[in-house]
Amino acid sequence: MDYKNVLTTCVYCGCGCGLYLEVLDGRVIGVWPAKTHEITDGKLCIKGWNIDGFIYHEDRLKTPLIRKDGHLVEASWDEALSLVAEKLGTIKAESGPDSIAFLSSAKGTNEENYLLQKLSRAVIGTNNVDHCARL
Amino acid sequence: MMDAGRHPNITLMTYSEVEEVSGYIGQFKVKVRQRPRYVDMDLCTGCGACVEACVFKKGVPNEFDEGLSRRKGVYIPMNGQGVPMKAVIDEDACLFLHRGKCVKKCMDACPTNAIDFDQKERLVDLEVGSIVVATGFDKFDAARLSAYSWGKSPNIIDGLQFERLSSATGPTKGEILTAEGIKPSRVAIIHCVGSRDENANRYCSRVCCMYALKHAHLVRDKTGAEVFEFYMDIRAFGKGYEEFYERVQEEGVYFVRGRGAEIVVLENGKLQIKAEDTTLGIPVAIDVDMAILATAMEPQTDADHVAALFGLSRSADGFFQEAHPKLRPFHTNTDGVFLAGTCQSPKDVPDTVAHANAAAAEALVILDRGEVLISPTTAMVVEERCVGCGDCVLVCPYSAISLLNSKAHLNSALCKGCGTCVATCPSGAIEALHFTDQQIVAEIEGVLAWQ
């Protein structure tokens, strides 16, 4: 019987609510709001309360998928990133940098989002950057 | 009764009471408490030698004679004519069992050594496929209606007491005599005592009219006394009944149409019956030597206990409720349990026989068929949704749900489909087949489409 609660931050939006993942014998079994969290004070929204839902979900993606002959097939990260780099390069060469847009996510951290816009502006050369939390 | 006692497939369990019933149609488990009879049923031949020998001469009131005679501590029920015709020792009357002191002449007298004071109460477990409840009725206690002066004169008797008076095995060997031991010259018979009366029972007891007419006939025939019948209506509904009513009228019985309102015990010991003769529209007062009350049939006083035991419901009058008043008159809402006779409603002998035969036949049909059809309108547990809280187990009126491995488990043979569990389950883990939430919601949407 190894029971513990692991403090983490909700990844669903930029609020960053504190929560505990309840872990029993190495498996996440639930969520507790962090009552001693200075900011969120033991409160969560429906997304935070269900943060554990995707962990063991059968639909969860564990590797990148590449569409081949109309079907999505599992691929390695190296393979997938090479493909993305290659295609972005081709599109930029053929249609210019503004034919590409970057959409970032609240599930990423500040730093990750910074890096994405940096990629967009400095590497690709476009200001087409947006974020789901801006809606 | 004799035939039932002799039948090889019928076991009579006398002095017994059902303690517990579980299971369901086809597989009932019945626990029966069998009280000691203190007489070995296999050895007793019913010769009556023990009764003769019993030293308790004073005895106790004989219930079979409605208290008009007395019997001893050991006796053969029904004045020696009971079924089975074997002796029984009454714990409360037997000097040995009651007071611990007796010479036990009965043991000496018994030619087969059947008397056994060491018998103990025992619990018998039975497994049966169907059950017929035939617990009968209780006599209305006329003391509840003070106007009839019940208990104030030994010459105010009820119909059953009169039956004993006029029976050849009764206390007077069939002679109709007043308490003073003389033939009455005027007799009143009062109908509807405790029946059709807002102060007692609203229903008609159905049998009283005809037995009251019979009593009138017997009094006329055996004593020649004048007979006054106080009645509201004569309900002579059965085959040959109306003809009998006419015959009694022709025998010179006076019929006074009006409820017997009051019996006054006069100073000379005679009884004065007061009533309104509604055909003449005048009050009447008639002095008689004997008054016979046609008392109502009532549910047994422990009917609630029996109902709970067998899962029966009771109608407003207190009798056991049949499944349908016309089409299922001897079925109950517990499959495999049937009603016979007056525990269901007042009945006369032919109706009781018909009812009982029907119930017996239906009980046999189940056993013979070996399988039962159940209604598709039952509950259904959706196990994935069940959290095992057990509220449904508490709620089920038929004990059809139990917890199995922390999940609700439904026995659909027991379920009647009331759906109370469905309404109780907080997690929607039980569906009422044919009355699902989805179906009812669709109906709600449907009816509210009306503007």
Partner: protein
């Protein structure tokens, strides 16, 4: 965080837990780490100086999960009055095995009792601390009989309009342990619709709470919209006590009154339907 308990109480309960761990498989309590305070199962050898008694978490839920996962395990729980009451209602509904749970009761402080409007701020199995007087009843509840229908209506409409349907009230509730929740059934609660005109969400929950709510106030505390849900549940509890004599969490032998017949749990008031 700002209400540090009297040191002697926490020392005493740490001592008790240490002793009971000799014979129990674990004790459910709160543990402080660098990450904050969270529910924990203390086992032999654990550093009991980490054991805390604030803030309040529904620890019986942890017990239930462990009892279901380990059918032999014998646990203790550091319990306040509300935890003990929650245990009683959960045990009644087969979510905790009462033979495998031992209450190590602590009393709440007078301030805590007042903050919770708690009618019984200490468990029956009290081990540490002195019982304090009940807190004063919630003034909204106390005044409710004199509150006209229209005012009640306006009050709750305002409250329910704030609801973001996070289901936190249900999630934190020790008495909400269903596998499938009626409030997630689209037949009853419209999915994807906030603050519908007819507040089915909150009314269903209030009905389900009537014979279960042990007034632990966890739902009030966790509601991000600050809806005073326990006002509604307190009113329901009051109604249940008046009509059926039932106080959730009071008696482990009393069956849930709405599930049994009138013979087993009679109505104490005549609702005009007795014939």
């Amino acid at each position: 965080m700002n209400e540090q308990p009297v040191p002697s109480i926490i020392e005493a309960i740490r001592q008790t837990v240490a002793e009971r761990l000799q014979e129990l498989d674990g004790v459910v309590a709160l543990r402080r780490s660098s990450e904050g305070v969270a529910p924990h199962v203390f086992q032999q050898g654990d550093d009991l100086s980490e054991l805390e008694i604030v803030p309040r978490y529904p620890l019986t839920t942890v017990v239930s999960r462990l009892h279901k996962s380990f059918p032999e395990i014998r646990l203790g729980i550091v319990a306040r009055g509300c935890d003990e009451r929650a245990f009683v209602e959960m045990a009644k509904r087969n979510q905790i095995d009462p033979d495998r749970l031992f209450i190590l009761g602590i009393a709440c402080t007078a301030e805590e009792a007042e903050e919770c409007h708690c009618a019984a701020p200490f468990p029956k199995h009290l081990v540490v601390g002195k019982p304090v007087a009940p807190g004063s009843p919630n003034p909204v509840v106390a005044e409710y009989d004199n509150t006209p229908l229209a005012k009640r209506n306006a009050f709750w409409r305002r409250q329910f309009a704030k609801c973001i349907k996070c289901y936190g009230c249900r999630n934190i509730c020790p008495e909400c342990f269903c596998e499938d929740c009626a409030m997630e059934d689209p037949a009853w609660v419209e999915p994807g619709l906030l603050a519908p005109p007819f507040p089915v969400f909150h009314l269903i929950r209030a009905m389900h709470m009537a014979s279960r709510c042990v007034a632990c106030r966890q739902c009030d505390l966790t509601c991000p919209a600050h809806i005073p849900l326990t006002v509604l549940y307190d009113l329901m509890r009051r109604d249940m006590e008046a009509t059926l004599g039932y106080i959730p969490g009071e008696d482990i032998k009393a069956p849930p009154p709405l599930s049994v017949t009138l013979n087993e749990a009679p109505l104490l008031v005549n609702t005009g339907h007795m014939d």
